[in-house]
């Protein structure tokens, strides 16, 4: 696997041939990841791909079975303590103390990160402001909403301003607004020079946040690149057209021949790759009008994680009778 950056000093995280098994089940089959300092890398994959296991090894919670992992230049096995001082971890479930207030949670973490009382206090106030938690600072966390808990959780991993942050599915289970505010905070962190390794199941999240995306499946890296290069491999935006009448489906299919498309006759869906966006739609609609074909609906969609996996893993046939017609 080609690595994007070669100079070791520029890399905050370097993972080589990382392996891990639980009992007889091998969950990581030799993962390679390189994260450049100050960048955001997204580990993209479905449940069970090995994302969380990778993060747990990098944050010293799990020992690897084989391979090498260096975080901030420190070996995760031999120099676990130095690694812990260099990282902040925000796990999949908010790791906050429900009985303490937001302020108490932050102060506690600050002291556990070895900050002086004064530094811990100062950072707590800064983070409460930055994460919009000032009003709730003196309330027990059990009264917080899900989004507030996640924000506090992230703030807690930042209390000692570590150079590297791990975020395990930072927006899973959040409502759209909280998700956006989380994205903004993550972007800001990266702008300030923090290196971020995050995991996600969502293509759009990786697309929005990451400078580099590593796609993993069943414990293996199956592709990597920046968002544009990956999407280019998967295909562009798609237009899904539902044709009103069964009888005109074949004709419709012939009319748009020449486009990259998928046809599903049973559900009368034509899915066309809209490589040049609106122009594709205009052209298709023109041809349909000339051919007097009525359509029931038209939807434009981004390539989904499904598309990425169907493409990258080559498991194209999902029993839905899709045929892919290439030009």
């Amino acid at each position: 696997m080609a690595t994007p950056y070669s100079n070791a000093a520029d890399n905050a995280i370097v993972v080589r041939n990382l392996q891990k098994s639980f009992k007889d089940i091998k969950v990581l089959h030799g993962i390679d990841i390189t994260v450049r300092r100050g960048s955001i890398l997204a580990l993209l994959g479905p449940n069970g791909a090995g994302k969380t296991t990778t993060i747990r090894i990098l944050s010293t919670l799990l020992p690897p079975d084989g391979g090498e992992a260096r975080v901030n230049g420190y070996d995760v096995v031999q120099q676990a303590c130095e690694v812990r001082s260099s990282i902040g971890l925000t796990g999949q479930f908010a790791a906050v103390d429900a009985y303490l207030t937001g302020e108490e949670n932050l102060l506690m973490l600050g002291r556990l990160y070895r900050l002086s009382r004064a530094d811990a206090k100062r950072r707590t106030q800064e983070l409460l402001e930055q994460f919009d938690l000032v009003d709730a600072a003196r309330r027990p966390v059990k009264t917080y909403s899900g989004g507030m808990k996640r924000r506090l959780d992230l703030a807690m991993s930042l209390i000692a301003a570590p150079p590297i942050i791990f975020l395990d599915e930072p927006t899973t289970g959040l409502d759209p607004r909280s998700r956006l505010s989380m994205w903004t905070l993550i972007k800001q962190l990266a702008n300030n020079g923090t290196t971020i390794l995050l995991t996600t199941q969502y293509m759009d999240e990786a697309d929005h946040l990451a400078d580099w995306i590593v796609v993993i499946d069943e414990g293996r890296v199956i592709a990597e690149g920046d968002a544009n290069s990956l999407k280019a491999r998967v295909g562009s935006d798609h237009v899904d057209l539902i044709i009103s009448r069964n009888s005109s489906f074949t004709l419709a299919q012939e009319l748009v021949n020449g486009q990259q498309m998928q046809a599903n006759p049973e559900q009368r869906i034509l899915s066309i790759a809209a490589s040049d966006g609106a122009a594709t739609i205009k052209r298709v609609l023109q041809r349909f009008e000339e051919g007097q074909i009525e359509i029931e609906s038209l939807t434009m969609r981004r390539p989904t994680l499904d598309d990425v996996f169907l493409f990258l893993t080559g498991n194209g046939s999902n029993g839905n009778a899709k045929e892919i017609i290439h030009e």
């Binding site: 001082s85 990282i87 796990g91 479930f93 790791a95 506690m108 556990l112 070895r114 930055q130 000692a160």
Partner: protein
């Protein structure tokens, strides 16, 4: 929103490992003690359990039990005290199990903190809980006819042994907290162990009334030694070997539990 604050320099302090063990344990103890204050069910159980057991035993069972020269209220006090202290330690099992199941233990493990501080914090909270329970038991006991004739020195022995016994049973409870697979199990597993141990002891009835094997067990288990020693100091029952035996038992339990606990805690992280 001050973006630059994320880069504000913060420098960790430098101290010895022992300093950090004490400092981290104190932070964790404060956390666990806050949990007592902030959670109503803990406060209620601390107050209600000792009073309930004192009243039930004194007035329901007490009339049928012959404790010789010592009045039943005087006999019962040491038994209720040790039983309550033992049940109190179940909170270490439950609270540790809660921490292990929820994400917060991963957060603590990913910090540069001392790894045993979390457990020490829960055990320190047990001491606080049991001091509260102890005071309530003394008050409840006095209300139902407990009349101690102990000297100041004997009271100090009682307090010292009660705290040592709490420590021993709390470390044992920490093992359970790390072993249980679910929070439901954490709730009942302590009771299943402690109930028989308190009943098959000298807590509520004199052991000479029990049949063969049960009597042998009752007379040689650590709870009986602790109960007999406290009873002797408070109301002048015969002390015998119970004082030093209970101290040896407690220290032995701690000496065995501490390494098992830290081994389990480390092993947990490998799963």
């Amino acid at each position: 929103m001050s973006e630059m604050s994320l880069l504000a320099p913060v420098r960790p302090e430098r101290h010895s490992d022992l300093f950090w063990l004490v400092s981290d344990s104190w932070i964790m103890a404060k956390r666990s003690i806050m949990h007592i204050i902030r959670s109503m069910d803990q406060v209620l159980s601390l107050i209600l359990f000792p009073i309930m057991f004192m009243l039930l035993n004194r007035y329901v069972l007490g009339g049928a039990i012959d404790t010789g020269d010592v009045s039943y209220a005087n006999y019962l006090f040491a038994g209720i005290l040790i039983q309550t202290l033992a049940f109190g330690a179940n909170y270490t099992t439950i609270n540790l199990a809660v921490d292990m199941k929820e994400g917060i233990v991963d957060r603590f493990r990913s910090l540069p903190m001392s790894s045993s501080a979390l457990i020490i914090g829960h055990i320190a909270a047990d001491l606080v809980r049991n001091v509260i329970s102890g005071i309530i038991i003394v008050l409840a006991g006095l209300a139902v006819g407990f009349r101690p004739n102990a000297s100041a020195a004997e009271w100090l022995y009682v307090i010292g042994l009660a705290l040592l016994f709490t420590l021993a049973i709390s470390w044992l409870s920490a093992i359970l907290g790390l072993l249980v697979k679910s929070l439901e199990a954490a709730q009942w597993v302590g009771f299943v162990l402690i109930f028989p141990l308190t009943f098959v002891s000298s807590a509520f009835v004199p052991t000479h009334t029990m049949p063969g094997a049960i009597r042998t067990f009752a007379e040689n288990q650590p709870m009986t030694h602790a109960i007999n020693a406290i009873r002797a100091w408070l109301v002048g029952a015969p002390l015998g070997d119970s004082a030093w035996l209970s101290v040896v038992w407690s220290i032995a339990l701690i000496a065995v539990s501490v390494p098992i606990t830290s081994w389990l805690f480390r092993r947990h992280s490998v799963q």
